[in-house]
C-alpha cells in the first residue's frame, strides 16, 4: 500500500494506546449510522452515512441523538 498524503506518515500510522474504536455501524430505516455506544443497545449518533442529502435533515438522525438499536443487525 502506498499512502499519498501530505501528512507525516508517523502521524498517520502511529498507534495509540486505545486501539479499539468506540464506534459501531448501525442500520436504521435504511440509513447507515455510525454510533458511539452509551450502553447495551444504546448509542449516540456520531455520523450519518448516506449520499441522500434529505436524510441529513431528518430530526431523528441529527448528530448527538440517542438511539436504541438492540433489535437491529449491527456490524
Amino acid at each position: 500500500m502506498i499512502l499519498y498524503t501530505p501528512l507525516p506518515l508517523e502521524l498517520v500510522l502511529s498507534v495509540e494506546e486505545e486501539t479499539t474504536s468506540p464506534y459501531q455501524e448501525v442500520e436504521l430505516s435504511g440509513v447507515t449510522l455510525v454510533v458511539q455506544s452509551t450502553g447495551t443497545g444504546m448509542g449516540k449518533i456520531v455520523q450519518v452515512r448516506s449520499t441522500n442529502p434529505n436524510v441529513y435533515l431528518r430530526p431523528e438522525f441529527q448528530p448527538g441523538q440517542q438511539i436504541s438499536f438492540s433489535h437491529f443487525h449491527t456490524e
Partner: protein, 246 residues
C-alpha cells in the same frame, strides 16, 4: 436537543401516523419528538470524501477516514437509481491510499450521470485525481490542493527496480490527472517537484484560483455554483436524450 422523559413518543397528528406505521423501525428511536419525516425528493445526491481515503489497510483510529468499501457501492447505487440524476462530490481530504483513491476516481469518471466536484478546505495528494474525475470541478476560494511526489514507506529493498516501481505508481496518478483536467503532464510534474514551496517536502500548494489558473480545476465556486452547474448539466443531458428519441 430536548430530553424527553415520557416512555412513549407523543401521539402524532393522524395524517402522519399512517406513514410512520409503514416505517416501523423508526418507533425504536428515542427522543424522537414529532414523527415528521421530510418527504422532499431530491434529484441530486452528495458524496462527501473527508479525511484520509482508506483502502487496503485499516488506518489507526485517530485518523478520520473515508473507506472505499463504503464509497464504491454508493456510486453503483447512484448510477443505478433512476431517481438520482446527478452527483455532487464534496472533497475535504488529506489524501490516502493511492489504489483506493484511483479506484474512486475511475468510478466517478465512468459514471453516465452528470457529476460535479467541489474542493472545500483541502483536496491534497490523491484527492487531486478524485477532484478532477468529475465532469466539472469547483474549488472554494480558500481551499488548497497540495501536489507532491509519491513516497514509499517501510522496509525498502535498495535496488534500481524500487525506484522504477515508485515511478510507475506516480505515473498512474500523473496520467490520470492529465487525462481528466486541462493541465499538461509537464506542468503537473513541474508543480510536483517544486522546491521552496512546502516547509518539509517538495511540491506545491495551490490555493483556490491558482488551481484554476494551472488548469487543474474548472472554476472557483461554492455550494451555490456547484448545485446550479449540476442542475444545468442534468437539464442538458435530458435535452440530449430527448433529441435522440425524436
Amino acid at each position: 436537543m430536548q430530553e424527553r422523559q415520557q416512555p412513549t413518543a407523543p401521539p402524532a397528528p393522524p395524517r402522519q401516523r399512517k406513514k410512520a406505521q409503514g416505517v416501523r423501525k423508526i418507533d425504536n428511536i428515542k427522543e424522537f419528538g414529532q414523527l415528521e419525516v421530510p418527504t422532499a425528493k431530491t434529484n441530486i445526491h452528495c458524496l462527501p470524501i473527508i479525511g484520509q481515503i482508506e483502502g487496503h489497510l485499516i488506518l489507526p483510529p485517530q485518523n478520520k477516514t473515508t473507506k472505499y468499501e463504503h464509497i464504491i457501492p454508493q456510486l453503483i447505487a447512484i448510477e443505478e437509481n433512476p431517481d438520482i440524476e446527478g452527483l455532487l462530490i464534496i472533497l475535504n481530504t488529506v489524501g490516502g491510499d493511492v489504489e483506493a483513491g484511483l479506484a474512486i476516481a475511475e468510478m466517478l469518471v465512468s459514471m453516465s450521470k452528470p457529476t460535479v466536484s467541489l474542493v472545500l478546505g483541502g483536496g491534497h495528494s490523491i484527492g487531486v485525481p478524485v477532484a478532477v474525475s468529475s465532469r466539472f470541478s469547483f474549488i472554494a476560494e480558500t481551499a488548497t490542493m497540495t501536489i507532491h511526489p509519491i513516497r514509499l514507506s517501510g522496509l525498502l529493498i535498495g535496488v534500481p527496480q524500487t525506484y522504477e516501481y515508485l515511478d510507475k505508481m506516480q505515473d498512474r496518478v500523473v496520467r490520470f490527472v492529465e487525462k481528466h483536467s486541462r493541465i499538461s503532464q509537464r506542468k503537473f510534474r513541474e508543480l510536483m517537484f517544486q522546491t521552496g514551496e512546502l516547509a518539509r517536502d517538495i511540491g506545491t500548494v495551490l490555493v483556490g484560483r491558482d488551481a484554476v489558473e494551472v488548469g487543474l480545476i474548472d472554476d472557483v465556486g461554492g455550494v451555490g455554483e456547484s448545485v446550479k452547474k449540476l442542475q444545468e448539466m442534468i437539464a442538458e443531458d435530458k435535452k440530449k436524450k430527448g433529441d435522440v428519441v425524436h
